[in-house]
Every structure is written in structure tokens, then in C-alpha cells.
Amino acid sequence: MEQRIAVLVSAVFGVLLLGLFAYVAGAAGRSGTADEIAAGAARWRRTAFWGLVALFVPTIAFSLTRMPYSSAVQSAPPIVVDATGHQWSWKLSRDTVPAGELVEIRVTGADVNHGLGVYDANDRLITQTQAMPGYTNVMRHTFATPGTYRILCLEYCGLGHHTMTTQLIVTAAK
């Protein structure tokens, strides 16, 4: 979902901008009155400013309601997975969790920084957090679909970075 939004927004605005620059480049050889064009640019600047304000304020406000951070006052759900990143392997306190239930994954790094990325059965990244030495990042997620999920390291951690993978089995909801 988020990936699709990212691609769609980037493609639409990117193509619009490319088209605008191409149009102006094509019109560069013709002559025009500098003062009139400057006045037009000032109007464009005002329109762009207020357009971006109108676009950004609701986008920022809505997206901030979708932050992945857990509130400290929330009590821990019954299913907890402790995940520790080592050079170059993952150690999970359990490798099976049920679908449809909130799971708390407590992530830390034993030696250097790692990144715990959770990939679904279609190899799509669904959530992640960093695994830092000295800190425990608390990530909560409800797995909607049973299957074999993969955990990949998403923070460069040395020679074996790309070999640092493991599995998390999500079983059918009871």
C-alpha cells in the first residue's frame, strides 16, 4: 500500500515537472518580454506556495497519525519476540507467532547497528526498525496472513550483512 502511494505520487509529480521543464526548454528560443515573464513567474511562485501549503498540511497531519512508534503507556501484548542482531545472524526468542494477534518485537543489536526488516511471503517489506547496541526498539505488528516471513538486515553491518537473514513463521489464527 505505502509502496504504491510512493510510486504513484513520485511518478505523477515527476512526470509533471519533467514536462514543465521540457516545455520551457522548447520555448527558450522564442523571444518574450522579460518584465511580463517575471510578473508571470511571481504569480506562479505565489500559486506554488499556497498550493504546496494546501497539499502538505493535511498530508503531514494525516500521515503523522500512522506512525509506527509504540506509546510507553501501552501495556505489552501477550506475544513478545525478543530479536537480537549479531554479526551476522539474528537470534529470535521465538520463531512462530499467530496471525491476527498483536505481536511486540523487541529489537536490539548485540555488537553494531543492524536493521530488522520483516518481509512477507511475497518478498514485500512490511515493517522495520533499527537494532542498536544499548537500545531496545519496540515494534508492534499484527500479521494479517499466515505464512513464512523473512527477516533481512537493513542496516549495513560489515562483511556478512547480506547473509543476515532468518525466518518468522506466522501460523493461522486460532
Binding site: 505505502e2 513520485s10 520551457v24 517575471a38 536493521g115 531496545t136 553491518c157 562483511l159 547480506h162
Partner: protein, 493 residues
């Protein structure tokens, strides 16, 4: 190289500014700066091509060598972007304020010394902790490299930073002695008051902003570099890993943004010579630069969104500023560029085309960057190939295009004309660059992680496409580099 008998100002970009020209000795040093920039860019772009070809399975690079190349490509591109852009800034700023040529040379010496140490640490010592040298990875390689290699890299980066610090202290000194205060050099009396005197020219405004933001950035970078070096030899001296990340990303973010802000000075100074329309320090221009100056210092937490332990208020601030920090300068610059060029009667050459494209690249690249600067989206995009996707657009087609555009301007203002090969190289660079970056974005949307030496089979079809487009970009860039080096002697004369 041919010399035009009847120079056409609009074609050759012959300078129409009233400011005195850059002095001949200084032009020689700047030509040296740009020559070094051209060679290093060529080398590092070939490194990039090799990495994509290896990920695609076309060639085989062992993981230890791959991560060394990755480290060299990353730190090298950050450093050379700053170095080449500083050359652009200095070339034009020296026309308005009295800069020290000795400091310019000192920066060159520090830079080259640092580069030798960095390359030695990487390719002789095996250091491969990534350009971000996240603490405590430099000290914990599991035997892949030793503390000596790590120290060589870290001290090398530190020396490069010292050179830049000297350079910005000198720009600050020169600006203050001419304008009396940083506020005046930023045009605040004109932005907020009713003074009727001429505002400072765009080059002074941009240089003042870069001076103000880069001095603390480099100082912070020096702190974490020094702490990392101490930790190598005294492991009991520990640094908080989250603090280290904050320091590194503050330094890195500000420094690389400053590269854009220095290089864009070339657009402000050169493009009007083609269009015949001067670039003015208008009120929106002055306000935009001051706004960006303040916001760019506080936006770096967007690199830490996935560090859940980082204070949430800082990450929220990072998201809000991701949407707003770069935009004032970018929007004002992009609209002014379009207005400057639109129906100006100009004729294109490689210099003006590259400078125009650079603003397009900067503008287009910021879109996926802002998207990724949204915490909810960053959750599934962070450290995927989406990230190099967006930064390659505004660095390759932004900063590097500005730097190459400046090189072609130096040549064309000395009478050089473009060949069919130059024009072919231009289209290879632009179209190849967009396609190459687009493949990164597509791979990021498919969740392919960044910084992986070995890719899984399902990712390799895109990798092959990426390698192919990388080859096109590199081939175009090598033509730019070869032509500049061929003309360098005439340019420095």
C-alpha cells in the same frame, strides 16, 4: 578546440556580469580543483557501475571488495561533491569578496592528503564500514580490517573536513569584512526592511548560508570522527550509538546539502549570461535562503525515523521539515530558472543545457525524497534502493550536472565549441541518469535492500537494467571528463 571568430554572447555564455573577472592565478587553482573533481568523479562512477554489474551477476566482485568499493563510492561522492561545488562557489564569490587563495590551496592539500589516507585505509587496509562509519562498526569488523585501517579512513575524512573548515572560515571572514554582518550578507535589511540600496548578489547570499551551516556541521563531524578514533585504541571509551548516529547524520545531511547550495551558484551566475536576464536577489529569494538555512540544520532526524528510541518529537520535526526545509530555495530557484529561460531567445549549448537540467534533476529528485521523509512510508522504504534512487536524481542529475555544466562553461567562455560527441554525451547522461535512478526507485518499491553485495535472483532483472543504464551514464560522463581534461590547460591560462 576551436575558437569562434564572431562570438555570440547567447551561445557561448560570455560573461555579462559587472563584477571583475576571477583573477588568472585563482582561475588556475580552480581549474585544478575541477580537474581533480573530473578525475575522481569518473573513477567513482566506474565504481558505481561495477557495483551494479556485480549485483546483476554480470561480473563477480567478492563481498569484501564490494563493500570496500561501496565505502569508497559513498565517502568519495560526498567529498568530491563538496570539493567541486566549493570550486564553483569560490570562482564566483572571489569576484565580490576578497578570498584567500592560500586557503584555497590549503584546502586542496588537506583534501588530497585526506583522500590518500581514506583510499589507503580502504584498499590497502580493507576498511569497509560504509561511508557513514556508524559507531561502533569501525572498531568491530570481526577481523576483516584492523584499527590501523579504520584510523586511516577516519583521520583521512577528518583532514578533508579540516580543509573545508578552513575554507568556510575564510569565506566567513571575507564576507564579514565586506558586508559587516552575516545578516547584511543574507540581505535581511532588504528582506525585512525598506532599505533602497542594492541587495547582496545571489552568490554572496548562498555562500553566506553555506558558511553558516557548514561550520557547525563540520565541527560536529570532527567530534564523532575523533571519538571514533579514540574508541579504536581505547575500547573502554564508548560512545552512545544513538548519539553517534545523530552526530553523523547531522554532519552528513548538512554537508551534502551544502554541496547543492554551492553548486547552484553556477546556475545563478552562468545562466543569465545565456539568457541576457540578470538573476536578482529578490525579496522571495532572500527569504527563501534564510528559511532554508534555518530548517536544513534541524531536518536530519529524518535519517533516524526507524530508530524508534530516538525522541518522537525529533522524528516528527524531521518529517515536517523534510517537507519544508529544502523547498523554499528549490522552488524559488526552479521558478526563477524557468522564468529566466522561458522565451529568452537563448540558444542551447552543453553548459547551459547541463545547468538547466541540474535544476530539473534537483526538483524531480526531491519528490521521492519527500515521500520517503514521511515516517509511515519510511517504514517500508528506509534502507531499500528507493533511497539511492532519490538521491542519485538530485546528486547525479543535480549537483554533478551543475559541476559538469560549470566545466563546460569554463571551456566555452575560452572559445571552445561543442561537438556532436558532446551532444551525444549530454543525452546519454540525462536519459541514462533518469533511467538509472528510476530503476533504483523501482527496486526500492519492490523492497530490495540497499548496500547488499549479493542480490537474490528475483531482484536481478532490475539490476541488469540498472547496470545497463549505469553504463550509459558513465559513458556520457567520461566524455565530459575527457573533454574537460583536454581543455584544462587552455582554461587555466
Amino acid at each position: 578546440m576551436t575558437t569562434s571568430e564572431t562570438p555570440d554572447v547567447r551561445v557561448r555564455g560570455v560573461e555579462t556580469t559587472n563584477a571583475p573577472p576571477t583573477s588568472a592565478p585563482a582561475r588556475g587553482v580552480i581549474a585544478l580543483y575541477m580537474g581533480i573533481t573530473a578525475i575522481v568523479l569518473a573513477l567513482l562512477m566506474v565504481f558505481g557501475l561495477l557495483m551494479r554489474a556485480s549485483q546483476a551477476g554480470v561480473i563477480t566482485i567478492p563481498p569484501n571488495r564490494f563493500y570496500q568499493i561501496l565505502t569508497a563510492h559513498g565517502i568519495g561522492m560526498v567529498a568530491i561533491s563538496g570539493f567541486g561545488s566549493a570550486g564553483v562557489m569560490w570562482y564566483f564569490l572571489s569576484r565580490y569578496v576578497s578570498l584567500s587563495r592560500g586557503i584555497l590551496v590549503a584546502n586542496l592539500v588537506f583534501f588530497l592528503t585526506g583522500v590518500v589516507l581514506v583510499l589507503g585505509g580502504i584498499f590497502l587496509g580493507g576498511f569497509a564500514a560504509g561511508w557513514t562509519f556508524l559507531f561502533p562498526l569501525p572498531a568491530k569488523s570481526l577481523g576483516v580490517w584492523g584499527p590501523g585501517a579504520a584510523a586511516s579512513y577516519l583521520v583521512g575524512v577528518l583532514l578533508v573536513g579540516v580543509g573545508f573548515l578552513l575554507l568556510f572560515l575564510d569565506t566567513g571572514r571575507a564576507i564579514l569584512s565586506k558586508y559587516g554582518s552575516l545578516g547584511k550578507a543574507l540581505g535581511w535589511p532588504h528582506a525585512f526592511g525598506t532599505t533602497t540600496t542594492d541587495p547582496p548578489p545571489p552568490v554572496v547570499v548562498a555562500s553566506t548560508v553555506v558558511t553558516i551551516i557548514n561550520i557547525p556541521a563540520i565541527a560536529v563531524g570532527a567530534v564523532i570522527l575523533t571519538m571514533s578514533v579514540v574508541n579504536l585504541f581505547a575500547p573502554a571509551f564508548q560512545v552512545n550509538a544513538l548519539l553517534a548516529k545523530n552526530l553523523i547524520y547531522f554532519f552528513g545531511h548538512v554537508f551534502i546539502n551544502s554541496a547543492i547550495y554551492m553548486a547552484v551558484i553556477g546556475v545563478y551566475e552562468i545562466l543569465p549570461n545565456f539568457t541576457g536576464r540578470p538573476w536578482k536577489s529578490s525579496k522571495p529569494f532572500l527569504l527563501a535562503w534564510s528559511a532554508t538555512m534555518l530548517m536544513v540544520l534541524a531536518v536530519y532526524p529524518h535519517h533516524l525515523f526507524m530508530d524508534y528510541a530516538n525522541p518522537t518529537w525529533a522524528n516528527v520535526m524531521g518529517q515536517i521539515l523534510s517537507y519544508t526545509s529544502g523547498l523554499p530555495v528549490l522552488a524559488v530557484t526552479a521558478i526563477a530558472t524557468l522564468a529566466n529561460v522561458y522565451r529568452s531567445g537563448m540558444k542551447w549549448n552543453i553548459a547551459s543545457s547541463l545547468l538547466f537540467v541540474s535544476i530539473m534533476g534537483w526538483s524531480v529528485g526531491v519528490i521521492p525524497a519527500i515521500v520517503d521523509g514521511t515516517i509511515a512510508i519510511n517504514r517500508v522504504m528506509h534502507n531499500t534502493l528507493w533511497v539511492p534512487g532519490h538521491f542519485h536524481i538530485y546528486l547525479l542529475l543535480g549537483v554533478v550536472a551543475m559541476v559538469f555544466g560549470f566545466m563546460y562553461f569554463l571551456a566555452s567562455s575560452r572559445g571552445a565549441t561543442d561537438s556532436a560527441l558532446d551532444r551525444a554525451a549530454f543525452w546519454m547522461f540525462v536519459v541514462g541518469g533518469l533511467a538509472f535512478s528510476g530503476v533504483f526507485l523501482a527496486a526500492g518499491a519492490m523492497s530490495v535492500p540497499r548496500r547488499w553485495a549479493v542480490h537474490l535472483a528475483p531482484w536481478m532483472a532490475l539490476d541488469r537494467l540498472g547496470a545497463l543504464f549505469a553504463l550509459v551514464v558513465v559513458a556520457g560522463a567520461l566524455v565530459f571528463v575527457a573533454n574537460f581534461l583536454r581543455r584544462a590547460r587552455a582554461i587555466s591560462a
